[in-house]
């Protein structure tokens, strides 16, 4: 029999999280700080709209691009939050989570051999999506000393004449790093000058703790070369609803809609109705969750300081990214040993790219009580390691 598999897909390595997941989920009494989704339930009024839409029998396909009313609400939201103007009819597409938007944006813009710049550590799907679209992924290794921001020089060093897209994963998973307006301005200038498109994944835009989020699309000359990706999962605690969106130049959105139409048809109808409610009346929920995350973020930073664990102060998403290099283990070794010794699950930084080596991702999408227990276990483990070294 012939090999049934595609060489391209076989050569993509599976997510580094998988083996931890398998081991941790078999263990009892594990406390996990490894989750990449909010601990809040979707606010009740949003769930109620979803239920209502089902009761009303709104169980049919929507248009490929998604409900026009939802696209209009998204435009109002982006105007309100980022001072961006998009045409709801031609510049917005509703997708199955931000993930689908990443995939179809790459496929709509890539020809074989094009290069996609991917800053890492970052979310696990940019590189596979770029490869599947036929691109050559080019990794930019972000640095701890820059608080994992992308600098102009790092960008310039990686640009070639084949560079087509720069992925901008900020606020960042797994580091919690953000880009301020000034940081973005440096990057935007290079993109305009070198004629590079930007895929800006702003799924954590609601979760910033140092002033409001700034979208790179709102900077001069950038809207026409940026695909802005966002969604409802993180800001509105709607991960399981699988709903995201992309906004951008109408020529790109038109081609993305074509792929979406053939592969997906349309995003879930129930979720779309619920999302309208989230955008209309959800600002206060987002603010409440943001404040709660911020408190936990401060709690963890203080706890790390007390146990002497080096960690830059992150101002976005719900992750902290402490450095564990002093213990002379790889991230994976550290994470496995921590799981084994203390039944505490964290994600090794290396799961998000080679430049995450020497770090662990700790999620604070957990109640303060849980974080306290977890920090106790982490502190106990680290103390043990240090004592061993001293002896």
């Amino acid at each position: 029999m012939r090999n049934p598999l595609s060489e391209t897909i076989v050569n993509i390595k599976p997510s580094g999280i998988r083996k931890f997941f398998d081991i941790a989920s078999e263990m009892k009494d594990v406390i996990s700080l490894g989750v990449g989704e909010p601990d809040f339930d979707t606010p009740w009024h949003i769930r109620d709209e979803g239920i209502y839409s089902l009761e009303k029998g709104r169980t049919f396909y929507t248009s490929n691009s998604g409900l026009l009313e939802l696209r209009e609400e998204i435009c109002r939201y982006l105007k309100r939050k980022c001072d961006l103007d998009y045409d709801a009819r031609k510049q917005v597409i509703i997708t199955v989570g931000g993930s689908e938007a990443i995939d179809i944006a790459m496929r709509a813009m890539i020809d074989p051999g094009d290069e996609v710049l991917i800053p890492q550590p970052s979310y696990v799907s940019y590189e596979p999506c770029a490869i599947l679209a036929g691109a050559k992924p080019v990794i930019i290794e972000l640095k701890n000393e820059n608080e994992f921001r992308l600098t102009k020089q790092e960008l310039l060093d990686r640009i070639s004449d084949k560079t087509k897209i720069l992925v901008m994963p900020f606020p960042n998973n797994p580091t919690g790093g953000i880009m301020t307006r000034e940081d973005l301005e440096d990057i935007a200038k290079v993109c305009v000058e070198k004629d590079i498109f930007v895929l800006s994944d702003e799924i954590y835009s609601e979760l910033t703790y140092l002033g409001d989020h700034v979208s790179i699309a709102s900077l001069p000359g950038m809207q026409e070369r940026t695909i802005l990706i966002n969604g409802f999962s993180k800001g509105f605690a709607m991960t399981g609803w699988r709903l995201g969106y992309a906004c951008g130049p109408k020529e790109i959105i038109e081609q993305m809609t074509k792929i979406h139409q053939f592969c997906i048809m349309c995003a879930p109808t129930t979720s779309q109705y619920a999302a309208i409610e989230a955008l209309k009346n959800g600002d206060k929920d987002a603010a409440m969750m943001r404040e709660s995350y911020n408190q936990r973020r401060r709690f963890l930073m203080n706890a790390f300081k007390e146990m002497g664990l080096p960690c830059f102060e992150p101002y976005g998403a719900f992750y902290v990214f402490p450095c564990i290099k002093e213990f002379g283990m790889t991230s994976e070794e550290f994470a496995f040993a921590l799981l084994d010794a203390e039944k505490l699950a964290v994600v090794p930084g290396s799961a998000f790219g080679d430049s995450g080596e020497g770090f662990i991702r700790i999620s604070y999408a957990y109640s303060l009580d849980k974080l306290k227990t977890a920090v106790g276990r982490l502190g106990h483990y680290i103390e043990g390691l240090r004592n061993k070294v001293e002896r």
């Binding site: 997510s15 999280i17 931890f20 997941f21 941790a24 989920s25 594990v30 996990s32 490894g34 989750v35 990449g36 989704e37 601990d39 979310y123 696990v124 799907s125 998973n173 404040e291 911020n294 408190q295 936990r296 401060r298 709690f299 203080n302 699950a345 994600v347 799961a351 998000f352 303060l368």
Partner: protein, 160 residues
């Protein structure tokens, strides 16, 4: 800062001040000062405990009593409200818009205590026109807390 402190301690007044200072990104001295100021300004009126008494004893009942009264010239409802809320068995008294005037809440009394309060004290007050007593059959949620609400973390143990 005040509102942040209030929002937090409204749900958890037992938090250590040093911890609250970390959570809100300020100093313990600042928290201590704000709390003292808000206490003396009457913004913070007490620190109570939310108890599900049904789990402790079965013979306590809670009642909500609608009271219609004749307001008095020059004093409106305040005097009559005062005469009612001064009874120690009264837990809360509100002036209400709509079909009646005062809502009086009695908590943790026996059935007999409630009935004797209504029939002998409340109804006999001058200016009280009528009363309607509602007994609480079950408390689902109180002070923003769902009683008997169980929460389990249904998320997968690890996700990217």
């Amino acid at each position: 800062m005040r509102e942040k402190i209030l929002n937090y301690i409204e749900k958890n007044s037992r938090v250590e001040l040093s911890e609250l200072a970390v959570l809100l990104g300020t100093t313990e001295a600042e928290i201590t000062k704000e709390l003292a100021d808000m206490e003396s300004e009457g913004i913070i009126c007490g620190y109570h405990t939310l108890i599900d008494w049904d789990k402790v004893t079965t013979d306590r009942v809670n009642a909500l009593i609608e009271v219609r009264v004749t307001p008095q010239r020059g004093h409106g409802f305040d005097d009559i409200a005062e005469r009612i809320y001064k009874y120690p068995e009264v837990n809360a008294t509100y002036l209400i818009s709509g079909g009646y005037d005062l809502l009086v809440s009695l908590e943790g009394k026996t059935l007999k205590e409630v009935s004797s309060f209504v029939s002998q004290k409340l109804s006999t007050l001058e200016n009280v026109i009528s009363t309607t007593t509602h007994f609480v059959l079950k408390k689902y949620k109180d002070h923003g807390t769902i009683l008997n609400g169980e929460t389990t973390d249904e998320r997968m143990i690890m996700t990217p």
